[in-house]
């Protein structure tokens, strides 16, 4: 079963992250990289991606003639996707356990960020990764 683990944050959260020291960022990334390696070794890893900052995010609708209408204005409370993992696991509980591990990745001073991670199953009818 494939699950996507979504890490999101508000613009305020992203601004705070940008004030982290290099040491704190390195420690955070080292834990995530080590988790990625572990998932690759267990055969559960599908893909992980980080997204560019919220200031570049655009909301698009189509006009009647199909031309895009672009808007970059979001509510203050908007949760922006920061990054995600796709894992192929035997049970939902295993997906929750991996999400828990991501949530314990260290923040400033090595204290776990305790960020909430949203876990969603892929619909079975969906087109597969190319």
């Amino acid at each position: 079963m494939k699950y996507i683990l979504l890490m999101t944050g508000t613009r305020g959260g992203v601004d705070t992250y940008r004030t982290w020291s290099k040491q704190d960022i390195d420690a955070h990334m080292a834990v995530l990289q080590s988790l990625n390696k572990e998932l690759k070794n267990s055969g559960e890893f599908v893909v992980t991606q980080g997204l560019a900052g919220p200031e570049e995010a655009k909301l698009v609708r189509g006009e009647k003639n199909g031309a895009p209408v672009t808007d970059g204005i979001f509510p203050e409370s908007k949760e922006f996707l920061l990054g995600y993992w796709i894992v192929d696991v035997a049970t939902p509980e295993r997906a929750y356990a991996i999400a828990g591990r991501i949530s314990t990745a260290p923040g400033p001073g090595g204290v776990p960020t305790n960020m909430p991670i949203e876990v969603r199953r892929f619909a079975e009818h969906a087109p597969r990764e190319s």
């Binding site: 990289q33 991606q49 655009k58 189509g62 087109p127 190319s130």
Partner: protein, 131 residues
């Protein structure tokens, strides 16, 4: 440049979608298949997935001992990701044009759904973050 096009909706819209007629669902699915095929044929398709229903969504935090704490309670206004496309295009503008196409996917009675599509650049690795 890689971009992710995200289609999201609050739970009430999912409930409405569940009530679409078979004909409306088929028309929407046919549009999506043709759109994906066009992306594949033009070599810009990277991936696309649809997600399971919001009632299965869980929010996970870690306890101090690392055990997951699972919660399925979300605010009423929560926008649930319904599905996404990842495309590899030449410019943000090309990504916006394709997002507008996806936004025009037919809804009930064949009228364009006009769902807003969030467009975000996907980073290719930690190097993009300067790490």
């Amino acid at each position: 440049m890689k971009f992710i096009l995200m289609m999201s909706a609050p739970k009430e819209n999912w409930d409405s979608f569940a009530k679409w007629s078979k004909q409306d669902l088929e028309r929407n699915a046919a549009f999506m298949r043709a759109f994906n095929q066009e992306l594949r044929d033009s070599g810009i398709f990277v991936a696309s997935e649809g997600l399971g229903w919001p009632n299965e969504a869980r929010l996970i935090r870690a306890r101090n001992d690392g055990e997951p704490i699972t919660d399925g309670v979300f605010p009423e206004s929560k926008e649930f990701l319904a599905g996404y496309w990842i495309i590899d295009v030449e410019s943000p503008e090309q990504a916006y044009r394709l997002a507008a196409r996806a936004s025009a996917a037919p809804g009930p009675g064949g009228k364009p759904g006009n769902i807003p599509i969030e467009v975000r650049q996907v980073l290719s690795g930690f190097s993009d973050l300067g790490l």
